[in-house]
Amino acid sequence: SQTIHQWPATLVQPVGSPLSLECTVEGTSNPNLYWYRQAAGRGLQLLFYSVGIGQISSEVPQNLSASRPQDRQFILSSKKLLLSDSGFYLCAWLGRPGSNYGYTFGSGTRLTVV
């Protein structure tokens, strides 16, 4: 079965520090992968998505970047965090059309920039 792992679960970082959030998927190959951010009490905003190794599409220009060094690994990074980067970050993958078609989400990372 397919599973998605996301870590860390919680992170408190000072302004100006770097960031690296990792997401890995098991049980599938060449998945579409996505990073979303959710501000408190708000909807989900798509940040980046990837359809393959080294292929990254950015939805919103900002202080973040993404990379996909391996087929089932998706990394969200920042060189210098801003206060506005605080939020809840979710990784997701899109399954194949069929009975289970849809996004499956990781458990999320709560990032607080102080």
Binding site: R42, L44, Y49, F88, G102, Y103
Partner: protein, 114 residues
């Protein structure tokens, strides 16, 4: 740009009663997927129900069903026999074909009164 609108920021219902959450969307596509996701206090995103636009029959999953009105671009979620565990944020979402990006509404916070 394709948008998803949830006009009810908050809803409440008595336990064991039925509640309907509203969702409308904008699209020029003829075939697409719609979803309802549940986000409990743990913030894990859980797929509740899926609807394929080319299917006229409304999707059902146990106590959850949808009223899909394609011409009106409406996709409401009905929860029957509400239970305390149904308390959560509910997000309506549409999958954009081609890019396969999921666009979310702003969510409806559902409270279940015992």
């Amino acid at each position: 740009a394709q948008t998803v609108t949830q006009s009810q920021p908050e809803m409440s219902v008595q336990e064991a009663e039925t509640v309907t959450l509203s969702c409308t969307y904008d699209t020029s596509e003829s075939d697409y997927y719609l979803f309802w996701y549940k986000q409990p206090p743990s913030r894990q995103m859980i797929l509740v129900i899926r609807q394929e636009a080319y299917k006229q029959q409304n999707a059902t999953e146990n106590r959850f069903s949808v009223n899909f009105q394609k011409a009106a671009k409406s996709f409401s979620l009905k929860i029957s026999d509400s239970q305390l565990g149904d308390a959560a944020m509910y997000f309506c979402a549409k999958l954009i074909q081609g890019a396969q990006k999921l666009v979310f509404g702003q969510g409806t916070r559902l409270t279940i009164n015992p």
